[in-house]
Symmetry: C2
Subunit: 554 residues, 2 copies
């Protein structure tokens, strides 16, 4: 995907803005999300006239979430905004991309350098001209200001390389009078590729293989970095070759098909299925690949015993209590696949049977439990499920992702409002995927009106609003009037936006009918407003609520 | 308003959370805007059970804008959110409050200190536990973490004092396990009041008075700090006593009634009325009180000649090219009022006559020019006008604010989406004011659904959407498809939210009718969707657009 060499010779004939656009294309970026503003308008217009498609959102945080989700499917994403009033609206979504390793390139315009003499109060300025950069320093892996044409080209290359390697967002600030500037001297990219230390890699692999082969009950816990570094197929090879069973975390869900033999389900401490919990926590050699050891991933409970773990991530390789440096994560995973690991024939816990539900559906009020069972039954091969926070996320633990299905959720940073704008990014990243969004009413009220951007692009995601009239997860921790919100007619939003199809659902029968209409609507988004009882909930969330209520507050 | 002494003796009997609430009340805070989340839930519940009213918003940025506008009317405002996924959604609105000096107290929950051992990946964490504080360091005048019960009380007092004095936002972070902690030893507030240096003040006043008395054509440019420090009445005394004419900036508009004799209008360089521009720019002694010398305030053009200016703000007193230290802004203004300044009888430029428009209204399509004329005619004494960015702001320059009318606009930071959530804050800050919001369609799509929070509070602002189908201000700088947005039926939003009244308007006749219905609707918000031509515009904006297009890009 990355054609690093391509522009070594031609870079010197392009302006800074043009070069940035070329490099975005090299990395496979075909869409940039954002909103124009005066300080970024020249670059925005340049982008608009390039082969990259500019995708407008209603608000900048929507652009951030869309770019994050786009990156999760496409490998990398980008957004482009104006100075401060634009960029500072991105902070939460880019912080989420940082926390969950979604590689997003943030491009922001800023006031012309020649206008900054004597520090004037130009509109959108907060404290100093560097305020925005200093904020992005906290939530990106690299941040650069293209304020010098002799080093701007190298800065662009370096920032994009960091984004690609670390899978974390980077910040590129382009003052408005630098967009069309060309360098005085030809630019030559001087960066070099990082490589693993071969001897360290060899020793670490030997160490790991010996531990795996000595174990009685090895298991693999697969997480999101396998997806980010495109190592899903390597994991499949490793499973097939060794017979070691694989569980995933909720953040890593769908890194491989959940219908594959050897796959035992989502591990999430006491929140996941008990048989998966038991298998993973009793393993005497747990190989954790690309794991985020977050409280959510561990179900707010599991204490790892490092004497029994091998942990490989992009940040470190740790075996029991010792660490290896200078080893690239993909090299370690590929090395494992090629190593001599004993073939096992493990007795696996049963997966819940994927059985067809009765076509007779019930006319009693729908509840969360039945909804997820029914949805599981209806999901098709080409569907991607995007979950927002709360019931949407925890209920979805037990959805079974098909062969090509993707599952996307901000399961660590857990920012409400992710899902609707994310569906814009996903639908554009891969137009063959049919996007299904599960979103609570509280989260929808935060960013759901980004449906307007989806409407403008003529996309057709299916939006399911799990309308339980408030912040239901919180009701289990502490109940108060502050958990109630206004009960919107989400199904009437198409009338406001002027596009889309919506309906209300109160029973399972109505849901099945609505789903069928929504799936056949490929002209516009569909929105299904499912009325749930405010205290109805899925089993995982009930367990979590109890834990949070009775234990110490997180 | 501030009862600093009150809690000196009782402070030691309260927990950290309780003390914070007491101090907020001392400063006159009666409402706190926000959204609960698990890390802040205990404090949120404590706040909810206190005499302070907790006001929920759909998203945190709405809470930030509401608190900012509340502060502009009430003197100080506050919002309360959860860690990172909440707080980082506030960054843009609090940056705006910093830029325009709106004193807002930001309270954020954060993970319990006892859970942070070994730096675990707790949900909502970005890079480190201090990421959020480091971001708020950039956009607040003080930021504190209440992580030690022996100094927490002093930190609360210090932060609130900074907020009150600097009129800028402050950040108070409260880890979830510190809310109910009481101090081991009694707390004694050790802070002291700042005072002006009497000799410096005397010299500066003498210097200023002498310059004013020597001048042939003195003038006063009044700006927003007069409002923030509640010095409007002092300005009136100064006008009455000296006869020196007063203009205001767009940010300072309505610091005094615009129908007062001696008032000549809004100064905004080439964007304001030419006679005001001429008067101010030709003054041989311009007394600038509480001014923000921003590009917008100066109409993107005026170059000040400091040989003819006296500038007094909370940050400095500058006369010609020399500065005075250690003088408090209010002391200087009050000192001027008491000084012997020559009484003038200046020949003032004419104010546009405030004449009644014909009651016969026209059935031709409404345009921006006629809309503002008509609105000017219809505005009543108890109304407050809140303007969003673009046509809404620039068109409103020539609205004439009545006796009690307030005018609120983020006229320097110019963040779109300010107005609708701001109306929530204004309506609660002073229930006797009737709130009128002027908002473009682009800005409305960013935050307009905060109408849901307005509906929950049973408030009745009149929302006027100047629907020109896109980012119209930008069309004058650079036109492209990216300036178009979806044409919503804003008037149908009441059907989604389940409250409110809306209608569409295409002619002046329809507007007058709609206005009358909206004004008599005191049960709920009203929303008027005014269809304007995408290229229709007000004269000020046309001039600005031309300037931005032909001059160097800002």
């Amino acid at each position: 995907m990355v054609q690093k060499e391509m522009l070594r010779s031609s870079g010197n004939r392009l302006s800074i803005g043009e070069y940035l656009i070329e490099r975005l294309k090299d990395y496979g970026i075909r869409h940039v999300f954002g909103i124009p503003g005066d300080y970024v308008l020249d670059f925005y217009d340049m982008l608009y006239k390039s082969r990259i498609k500019v995708v407008g959102t209603a608000k900048e945080d929507g652009a951030g979430f869309a770019a994050d989700a786009y990156a999760r499917i496409n490998g990398i994403g980008a957004c482009c905004v104006t100075y401060c009033v634009g960029g500072l609206n991105l902070v939460n979504s880019i912080a989420g991309a940082y926390a969950e390793k979604a590689p997003v390139v943030v491009i922001s315009g800023s006031p012309a350098l020649h206008k900054r003499v004597n520090d004037p109060m130009l509109h959108h300025k907060v404290r100093s001209f560097s305020t925005q950069k200093e904020i992005f320093d906290q939530i990106t892996a690299a941040s650069v200001v293209l304020d010098d044409e002799q080093i701007a080209f190298q800065k662009i290359d370096d920032a994009l390389a960091v984004c690609w390697k670390s899978k974390r967002p980077v910040y590129i600030e382009l003052p408005s009078d630098m967009v069309s500037v060309k360098p005085q001297y030809p630019y030559i990219n001087k960066s070099t590729e990082e490589k693993s230390n071969g001897l360290a890699l060899k020793e670490a692999l030997k160490d790991a293989v010996s531990m795996l082969n000595m174990a009685k009950k090895p298991a693999i816990l697969a997480d999101v970095e396998l997806h980010r570094y495109e190592l899903g197929n390597e994991l499949i090879k490793l499973m097939d070759k060794t017979g070691i069973p694989v569980a995933v975390t909720i953040l890593g869900k769908s890194v491989i098909s959940e219908m594959r033999s050897g796959y035992i389900g989502v591990y999430e401490g006491g929140m996941g299925r008990p048989e998966v919990q038991k298998y993973i926590e009793s393993s005497d050699c747990l190989l954790m690949l690309g794991t985020f050891l977050t409280d959510v991933n561990l179900g707010f409970s599991f204490k790892l015993d490092r004497s029994h773990t091998i942990e490989a991530t992009s940040e470190k390789i740790q075996i029991r209590y010792h660490n290896y440096q200078d080893i690239l994560f993909p090299d370690f995973v590929k090395g494992l696949v090629k190593s001599k690991i004993k073939k096992r024939n493990a007795k696996l816990p049963d997966m819940p049977a994927k059985k067809k539900l009765s076509t007779k559906t019930s006319n009693v009020p729908i509840n969360a439990g039945r909804f997820f069972l029914r949805l599981n039954d209806l999901l098709e091969d080409n569907m991607v499920v995007i979950c927002d926070i709360g019931l949407s996320l925890f209920g979805a633990i037990d959805l079974i992702m098909h062969k090509n299905t993707e599952f996307i959720a901000p399961a660590y940073y857990t920012s409400m409002g992710y899902s609707v704008p994310a569906s814009l990014g996903v639908s554009l990243a891969n137009s063959e995927l049919r996007t299904v969004v599960l979103v609570g009413d509280g989260a929808f009220q935060m960013t759901g009106m980004e449906l307007t951007s989806i409407a403008r692009q003529g996309l057709s995601p299916v939006i399911i609003v799990l309308n339980n009239k408030g912040y239901a997860t919180e009701r289990y921790i502490k109940e108060g009037e502050y958990n109630d919100i206004q009960d919107w007619r989400y199904d009437k939003i198409p009338e406001v936006i002027g596009k889309g199809w919506g309906c209300e659902v109160r029973t399972e029968t109505e849901f099945v009918k609505a789903w069928s209409v929504a799936c056949s609507n490929t002209e516009s988004f569909s929105i299904i407003n499912i009325h749930l009882d405010p205290y109805d909930n899925c089993p995982a969330l009930k367990r979590l609520g109890k834990k949070l209520k009775t234990g110490k507050r997180p």
